[in-house]
Structures are given as structure tokens and as C-alpha cells.
């Protein structure tokens, strides 16, 4: 067991854990942020997607010992009130069914839109093919990503609270 400091959603957390423990379990079981989900443990399904310095990563295979000073953003960090345009678009398109994979889907979409304001279908496919949804919400995810891109053109739609350093 080692004392490890990580920065999540702008807050420093000190956890006592095996440095090999994947970030996923540290977030869920030690820090209490359960929005990030366990789906496969092998980076195959994307349910555990978070941002590492703004880039999407699978937290199920990222040892906390390796994070060092990097900034982690989880679903809880993209806004405090569903004001992120991606969240707004997800609600507007009535995207989730069971909702379990949606944190990961949203984190992948947020990362995509940060670098690509006008994603094509192919761009969306490339960015989100790593995120499985067993309920079959893909058509609505696609529509929501496009809707979010439109919303983001208006600066008023950007989330007001910025606590992550990764957007």
C-alpha cells in the first residue's frame, strides 16, 4: 500500500492503494465517484472512459501509480448541472436506456468535440467505436453528438463551471 495523490475533477485526492490498482477502482471504491463504470476490465467496452489531461482513456487499465500530475476528468467533472452541451444534447435526443454505458459514451463524445467541432459520421464512428452499448442507443448517440456540435457553436451553451482543466 502506498499513499498516492491524484487530481480528479480539479480536486486533489490522496488514496492509500496498490499503485497497480486501475484508476477505475480507485475512482469508484476509494474516491466514491461511481459514474465511471466497470464493463470488461480489458479496455474493450469503453464503459470506464475518463479523460487524462483531456484525452479519453480507459480507466480499467490505467494504474493509479502512473497518473502522477496528470489531470483526470470523470463524468462528474464535465459539469455540475448537466449544462455541458453534450449532456444537453443527450437529454434532448432521449439517448440513454439503461444508462450504464452512457458516462463512457459521453466522455468519448466530449473528447471528440473538443478537437473536432464538425464531426462527420466517420469521425463519430472512429471516436465512439470503442464504446459498447448493449441497449442499442447508437442511432441516438450519433444524433446527440451532432446536436451537441451545433449547440457548441453558441458560446452561451458552454458549461459555466470549469473545475477540470481538461475541457
Amino acid at each position: 500500500m502506498t499513499k498516492i495523490q491524484i487530481q480528479v475533477n480539479g480536486t486533489k485526492h490522496t488514496v492509500e492503494a496498490d499503485p497497480e490498482m486501475p484508476l477505475l477502482w480507485a475512482l469508484r471504491d476509494l474516491i466514491g465517484l461511481t459514474g465511471t463504470k466497470f464493463g470488461c476490465g480489458m479496455t474493450l467496452c469503453g464503459a470506464c472512459t475518463v479523460h487524462l489531461d483531456g484525452a479519453p482513456v480507459r480507466s480499467c487499465a490505467l494504474p493509479i501509480g502512473q497518473i502522477k500530475k496528470s489531470h483526470i476528468t470523470t463524468i462528474e467533472g464535465i459539469s455540475s448541472d448537466n449544462s455541458h452541451p453534450v449532456q444537453k444534447a443527450w437529454i434532448e435526443m432521449q439517448t440513454p436506456q439503461c444508462g450504464y454505458c452512457q458516462s463512457g459514451q459521453i466522455m468519448s463524445a466530449v473528447a471528440l468535440l473538443k478537437n473536432n467541432a464538425h464531426p462527420t459520421d466517420a469521425d463519430i464512428d472512429a471516436a465512439l467505436a470503442g464504446n459498447l452499448c448493449r441497449c442499442g442507443t447508437y442511432p441516438r448517440i450519433r444524433a446527440a453528438v451532432k446536436r451537441a456540435a451545433t449547440l457548441m457553436k453558441d458560446k452561451n451553451n458552454m458549461p459555466t463551471k470549469s473545475d477540470t482543466g481538461s475541457r
Binding site: 464503459a47 437529454i91 439503461c98 444508462g99 467505436a129 441497449c135
Partner: protein
Amino acid sequence: MIIHHSSFTIYHYIMQTRRDFLKLTGKFGALLAVSIALPVSTQAKTTQKTINGDEPISEIIDFEMNQYIVITKDNKIILFNPRPDMGQGTNQSLPTLLAEELEVDLEQVEVRFTNGHSKFGGQNAGGSSSIRTRYEELREAGAAARVMLVSAAAKRWGVPVAECVAEKGKVLHPKTGKAALYGELSEDAAKLEIPQGTKLKEIKDFKLIGKDAPRLDIPNKVSGKAIFGIDIKVPNMLYATIQRSPMIHGKVQRFDMDAAMKIAGVKHVLKSERPLPYKTLEGVAVLAETYWGALQARKTLNVVWENADYQSVTTENYFRAAHSLAKSAGIIYKDAVGDVSKAWDISETKLEGVYETPFTAHAAMEPNNTVAWVKDDGSVEVWCPVQGPDSAVGKVADYLKIKPEQVKVNVQLMGGSFGRKAYLDYVLEAVYLSKQARAPVKLIWTREDDLTQGPFRPGMVSSLKAALDKNGSLTTFEHRMAGASIMHQVLQHDQTGKADGWVAEGVNQEDSPYAIPNRRQTFSLVETPIPIVWWRSVYASTSVFGQECFIDEIAHASKKDPLDFRLEYLKKEPKFIQVLKLLEEKANYRQKLPAGQAIGIAIARSFKSICAYAVTVSKKDNNIVINKVVGVIDVGLAVMPDNVKAQTEGNVIMGLSTALKSGITIEKGEVQETNFHAFNPLRINEIPTIEIHVMPSEAAPSGAGEPGLPPIAPALCNAVFNLNGNRIRKLPFSLEI
């Protein structure tokens, strides 16, 4: 609407002792309960126990029945949803039925899951039954409560009941301008007789039903705040993982525990048990302070399995047996008409086709999990994502040989299920471990556990034959199904020598009412130790594949367009005709497609709803591309039409995944697909355009969660035949040519 999550429950559970509870009820005062059949005094009492959500069932079991609505004096309106939500939306659709007649907006209410108590009736969210079996009852419960509230107001104000109206959680007396919140009336209302036979609204007067309000669970599902079973935390709980035999039914011979016990936080290493309905399987469990620690320790166990008996269990052997049985007619279902054997012998044109559908896994994104706490007094509390709260209570009580009153089930949101979480082996595993460890235990299955251990949708074989007379008319049709029986293995009703009615779901005379003078379905049971269970749309997902592909084969043999053929043989079925006609229009079925493109259709009724698809495919290089799926579904009156659409989109994708991607294969007793690299459902880059039309209807609601699945695979395969003449008879198949 507030969706009542267990994050609330846990902390209240911990914090809220009985004394706190008394304070709570004292503050809220008297409560209103709606119960259809009980005297008033017991109802109010019953509700006081229920509202805190924390009383052992023993104290409320005597105050039974249909208790869906609670209104506190401070105007909190609590609606109980008796069917758990796995994503299909019952947390909104069922409260909508109550709220419509109660005259409240959904934003005004808090929704809670029921706890399995028998007063809530059957609570299993399965068989696409949640709305169709509760449609009358919940509206009646809402109406009865509204009448009581209005009567209480009229009495208080000394005005005629007929002059009062209920609206958005208030009773109003327009003549005098008086108004009272439901909460202000609930104490008086609770003292009144429960009215019987209150007239329900006409469809034209609905404000909520059929209106497509946004789903109120969605905001929490995009913020990460929604709490699923896997998110539950109870103080001092241990995390558990179980090493299971890679081979079906292996027994634990020995294992090492020294290395495991040395890993930080590991508290127990012990043999575990997994009770299936027909056998109890063995495993080795690690209980630790963190789940990661438990997983690390699990890797060191070096379990030696005794499994020689099961080397020969393979899906190949299973299908060999099924194909062999399907060569001759099995046990004939009662709905047979005419004389198939005789008609076959004298027929002009004879067709035969053998179809096969694979074993497959549910693979809900949320793996199985449960928090169980067997307490020192012998009672047990579980927090679990399950489809049936009442079956959870019953199973846990039976397993521990305790009374149902000693079992408290806290139902959680499910991160998908598709039938899996109505099979409660994982709940009992957690209960077992908690009992052994004398501590609360949170068991989480890994994805590998989920995919390799089953239970699975059984693989099935359909052997079909048909005969045409010299005019090309279809005279004879036989569908022989062979495979494992869920009724036999899971529900333990011996099906030897019986025609298991479940297997013919979707293809029996009622569900597939093609008018054929000589027709029969038969069933042959394949006994297997492979654990099986219901999977979204159950046998309709397998039986309909052969049926609807073969109908297409017959249409081609009789030189008729497949849609025209279906219209002809379903002409006495107005609902089928209506669906086919709308599909024809929406899919632009009659248009001439460019070379290298083709369209195929299929139609099926299951769970009382009819669904049909038109799938358009094309050739691109060495691949078949699925360009578009147009669907029409008739679920009767759709309580949440957009949600019906969403369910159907999901069924298209799940059905296509099962048609195109790996199923579950077993070699030498071991499942070969161990994670999502091998069992890989469709991803966003692999789906066609999907366009679903919900048939406008005022008929009583029928199923919505499953009926969209059965016809998609046959529609796809019928399109492929029209594209390249290749008749797909075995799933899964590859789109590479």
C-alpha cells in the same frame, strides 16, 4: 419526478434507526394509502411502514394489497413502480398510468421500486408484460385515490363533490376559488371508503399517456449520478470475486490460499456455491477490502478442477443431437390443423429447410452484482439489480430456509439485463458469502464470469417443410423445433414427451396466423447440462428465424413477391395487414432498386405485439452492406411512443448483433468467448440507418420491450437472398461474401 435511488436508501438505511423513523412519521403525520380491498384503518398503518422503506416485511404483511400511492401531509407524492427498470423505462411508464388518473404531473412525484411484498402482485419485469398486465389496475388505483382526495376536499368545504376538480396535485372548487394541495387532504382522504369502479378517462382525455414526455431518469444517466446495483456501498462491506470453473460444472478439487491471504486487504478465501435451479456449482471466493485486491488474489488461487465428466459438453455435440431429433416430427402442438402427413404425400411441390440459431449471452453492460448482508439475527438484506423483487425475496428465503418476512430486498436500477437478471444465482452467491463471512458482501461478476458461466439463450434447430399444390397454393406447413427447454431446466417442469408451449412462441398458430389448411408445429427436447435461460424475446428470437425465412422460401417457390405472399396468407388478420401495408409505404417497398441492392421483409407477433421490418442491403466490394432498416411496430396504445421507438431500435441492433456476431460456443466443456474481443456485439460504426414507425392505435397496450427483436434476423436474411440468391440458414453469418 424523483427516481428513488438506493444511494438515498443506504445512507438512510444506516442513519435512520427506528427512532428516527418515528420522528419522521410524526413530522409527516397521517398518510394516505390507496388499497383496493382493505379497510381504511389498516391502510394508513400499512403506509406508515412503507414510506420509510425500512421496515421488515413482517410488520406490513398483514396490511396487504395494491398499495401504489402514498401522499404525505407535507405533499410528497410517492408512487410505487411494481416492475423494475432495466432501461426499458418502467420507472416512467407505470407511474404515468397512476399519475394520469391521480391528476398529478410526473415532475411532482417520487417513484420507488417495490420490495417484493405480495401486496404488489407479480413484480417480475419480464415477458414484455409490465404495461399490458398493469394497464387497468394502476389507472384504477390512481382514480380511486383521486376520488378520495376530491371527496375529502368537498366535505371540508361543504360543497358538492361534483363541483370540485382535481388538477396537478390539487383539488379546486372553481365557484368559490378554494384550493387544497393533495398533501393537505391526505389525512382526511385516508379515512374514507375506497371507491370501487371509478370511471376511468377516455383516451381522448389523456394528458400523460401517449404524450411522449421526456424520460425523467435520463438527467441522472448523463451526469453519472444514477445509482445502479453495482454502485451500492454499505459500511464495512467486503468485496467479493469468485474463481469459477472454466469448464461447465467443474468441481473444486483443491486450491492455494496462502498467496491470496498475503495480498493486502484480503480477509477470506473460501469455497463458494452457485445454486442453479438444477444443480449447485462450486467456486472459490476471495473477500477483500477492495475489489481490485480481491481480483488480484483470485489470480493466485491455482484452483484444480475435477471436471472429467464434462469434457464432452460441446455446442457442436448439442447441435448434432438437435439436428438428429429434428429429422423427424417431435411432439405435436395442440394447435395443429388438417393432416400434414397426408397432404405432404399428395403434394406437387415440396420444400424443406433446416435452420439453426446459436447459443448466446445477454452480456448486459452492468455485470451481475449484489450486496448481501446476512445479519446475526438471521434476517438478511440485499441490494440487487433484479428483474423480479418478489422472486428475489422468495429465492433468498428458500435458500436460507428463513421466512420471507426476514428478507429485505432493495431493488436497484439495472444496467441492462435482457432476461439475465431474472435468474438469481448471483444474488444467492452473495447471500452465501455474507453468511459465511458474517459481514456485508458485495459480489461483482467479471465480464469473463458473465460470458463463460451462462446461463445462455439455448441454441435451437428449426426443421421446416412445406408443400404446394399444382396451382402453387400453400397446402402444407410443418415447423419442427428441437433444442433445450427453459421450462424443463430452469423451471423444473419435466418436458419429456411434451410439446413445450414456450418454444413455439412467435410461430404458433396464434402468433403466426398464416392460413394454411394443413399445418403443425412440433417440439423435440434436447437435454443438456449447459445452463440456459430466457433471453430478450426468448424462443421467439430463435423460432421466428426459421419460420419467417422459410415463409420467404415458399413465396419464392410459388413465384410470388414475399410481401404479396404474406398479405395473401394473412388476409384474415387485419392487424398484420395493417402493419404490412404501413411497412410497404414507409419502406417504399415497391420502388425499383438499383442493381446491386435488394430488400427483404419479415413479420412476427410476440408478446401480443406485431412487428415487421424491411431491410435494404447492397453489395460493396466483397461485402454485403446493410443500408437501412425500416420497421413498423403495433403495440396497441403506446404509453410512451418515443420509448417504444427506442426499444425497437435497440431490438434491431441486438437482433442484428446476434445474427452477425459471435454467439457462445463450447468446446471440451469450456466457453470460447471470454470477453468482448470474442463476443463482440455491434458497435456504432456497424449499424445501419434505422427508422421505426409506431402504429397509431387505441387498442389495449401489448408488449414493447421484446417484440421488436424476432423479425429482424429473418428480414435481413431474406434481403440477402434477394441480393445474391444465398439462403442463410444458420446464424451467425458473415457479411463478407
